[in-house]
């Protein structure tokens, strides 16, 4: 009964013995078909790169790279266009920071509770309940941010002038809640992978549960937790509908979260949902901003995958 647990990334024992003396062409055909299906994912990435490069190259044929990355005016859809991406980048950064200020503490707290304190039955109920948050469509979050959170902030703003009708703050807060399950679930996995012996050692030295959680389990699971946070950053940078609905459509370089601003994804959504002629230069700006977005999230994803690998290597 006790079959040895197969490590996920190792060939099953006995594969060599499967070699037949007689060639079996049907099997070969099936294997080739299956490989083809797996290659669809590679083709997807290639397709993304291929669809991004030519329009982006054309864009940079007319706009200087330095002016694009260093410019502080973004008026791509106006009659006198300026293509400085900093306002879009700044807004993306600001909303991401707000989202992470919500998601990281709350997500980590929830993860520690689920992993260290909750009984298995409680965990069985609460974990899926938390994960429902990840299944809510982002357009619903956008609606909620615009028509519930913003009025709430406007009515109860304690100091000075309240936030605008469109503002980065409510988009960021709601986006943070959206990211909580990502961070909680991945960090919980990392904490569950910490061997029990480490906890037992700490308990044997007289530590309470809080000390064990904060000083033993969290540091031991740190690379997994960091990976979860990096993935959260990537989600926040790429999230579109919430910012398109709640944070406004004016690209202004401002770091006041009460102002309306436009993120990279917000611009792509606005430009892409309008009626821009295919041959026009405005159409190419979508791809240029998209290329920048893809590069940033690609780097983040690779970083996160790296970190997850690292903690897996330590304890398995």
């Amino acid at each position: 009964m006790s079959s040895p647990p197969r490590p996920p990334s190792a060939a099953p024992p006995g594969r060599q013995s499967l070699r037949r003396t007689r060639p079996c062409y049907g099997e070969r055909v099936i294997q080739a078909l299956l490989l083809l299906a797996a290659l669809v994912s590679v083709a997807t990435t290639a397709g993304i790169v291929v669809s991004l490069i030519p329009p982006t190259a054309e864009f940079f044929g007319r706009v200087d790279v330095g002016a694009f990355l260093g410019g502080t005016e973004w008026t791509a859809l106006f009659t006198k266009p300026e293509y400085g991406v900093l306002p879009l980048l700044g807004a993306t950064l600001l909303i991401t920071v707000i989202a992470l200020l919500v998601a990281i503490p709350v997500g980590l707290g929830a993860a520690i509770y689920l992993s260290e304190y909750a009984s298995p039955r409680v965990r069985q109920v609460l974990k899926p309940a938390l994960e429902v948050l990840a299944g809510v469509p982002t357009v619903v979050y956008g609606f909620f941010a615009l028509s519930f959170v913003t009025p709430l902030l406007q009515d109860h703003w304690p100091f000075g002038e309240g936030p605008d009708f469109n503002n980065a703050l409510s988009a960021g807060i709601v986006m943070g809640v959206m990211i909580i399950p990502t961070i909680a679930s991945l960090s919980e996995d990392a904490m569950a992978a910490v061997p029990g012996a480490l906890r037992d050692g700490a308990y044997a030295l007289g530590s309470g549960k809080r000390i064990v959680s904060v000083r033993v389990v969290v540091p031991a699971a740190l690379s997994g937790i960091v990976a979860a946070c990096v993935l959260g950053i990537s989600r926040a940078i790429g999230e579109t509908m919430i910012v398109a609905i709640a944070s406004g459509n004016r690209a202004t370089l401002s770091f006041n979260p009460l102002d309306a601003m436009q993120t990279m994804t917000g611009f792509i959504a606005q430009a892409g949902s309008g009626d821009i002629p295919v041959q026009s230069f405005e159409y190419k700006t979508i791809f240029a901003v998209g290329a920048l977005l893809f590069v940033i999230t690609f780097v983040m994803n690779m970083l996160s995958i790296r970190l997850v690998r690292k903690y897996r290597e330590v304890y398995e």
């Binding site: 006790s2 299956l34 994912s41 669809s51 980590l108 707290g109 509908m241 994803n301």
Partner: protein, 301 residues
């Protein structure tokens, strides 16, 4: 592995007994803080659902699924074209992405040698794709499918784009289901003289079906809620008819909701909330089906 399992439960249970009657304010405060963190998410969800339901209440009637959208008269507007558009798009998304995704998962779990560079590349690639922003898929659909392959902004383009978008989810879930089938089943089948494909088709796949189905439903529920890529694929235009084929123009529920939110009149917000209730009801039903499937059919080996 086995001796850890034997010793773990008593070792885990012991500190609780040792905690003793002493009152520890730090411990209690910390525990309460953690519970609050967990509560934030769940309370937020509760408030969101309640708010949407309250906002939707005046408009939650048969007009919503009997009538077509109307820009002038919100009291007569409905979401029939969006509901049917969603059904069309998601049906074809399932048709495109489920077979491909499951086949890719079978290849990666049963055939691929993980030490080969190209298999590692495929794996890394899938992990990366799972976290690529969805609007980037919209750019892919716009640049490659709609323009280069000149498929236009149709149900077909939308379904292809969404199936590429949720394919990583299908692959990852199916791989986990296939991996959970114990090795001894495969070995027994091979020992009886079955070929590798016969083993997979007759033993591994039937055992993995509940897991694959659960993952597929969750992937499709993501496709239903997705709006960002379709913004770029022409779903925003005002559509007052149901799709009649792959070449047809379409709109979907999330996009219709987005359109109504962008209107300034109050009635449209109630309409948006009502459509959100329908969307969430569909998603909840799908999630419930996934949970039911997992509980009802999953085997413990």
């Amino acid at each position: 592995m086995t001796d850890i399992r034997v010793t773990e439960p008593p070792a885990r249970a012991a500190p609780r007994k040792l905690a003793g009657p002493r009152f520890r304010p730090g411990e209690t405060a910390f525990r309460t803080l953690l519970l609050c963190c967990l509560a934030v998410g769940i309370i937020f969800l509760g408030v969101l659902l309640t708010y949407v339901l309250v906002e939707a209440w005046p408009r939650l009637d048969s007009r919503l699924w009997n009538n077509f959208p109307s820009i002038r008269r919100p009291e007569r507007a409905g979401a029939q074209s969006a509901i049917f558009g969603t059904i069309w798009v998601v049906a074809f998304t399932a048709l495109f992405c489920l077979p491909t995704g499951v086949m890719a998962a079978i290849y990666l779990e049963e055939y691929a040698d993980p030490n080969r560079w190209y298999n590692r590349l495929i794996e890394l690639n899938i992990q990366n794709l799972a976290a690529v922003p969805s609007i980037i898929y919209g750019i892919l659909g716009l640049g490659l499918l709609a323009r280069q392959l000149s498929l236009g902004t149709t149900v077909l383009t939308a379904a292809l784009t969404l199936s590429l978008l949720v394919m990583p989810v299908v692959i990852i879930a199916s791989r986990e289901a296939i991996r959970a089938v114990p090795q001894s089943i495969r070995q027994a089948s091979l020992a009886l003289g079955a070929t590798q494909w016969q083993t997979i088709r007759r033993q591994v796949l039937p055992a993995a079906v509940p897991g694959i189905a659960t993952g597929s439903i969750l992937a499709l529920s993501r496709a239903i809620g997705e709006a960002a890529p379709l913004l770029l694929l022409g779903a925003v235009t005002y559509v007052a008819f149901n799709p009649e084929g792959l070449e047809s123009a379409y709109t979907v529920l999330p996009i219709q909701i987005f359109g109504w939110i962008s209107q300034s009149r109050e009635e449209f917000h109630h309409l948006a909330a009502a459509a959100i209730v329908i969307l969430l009801a569909i998603l909840l039903l799908m999630n419930a089906a996934a949970i039911w499937l997992r509980n009802r059919f999953s085997k413990r080996w």
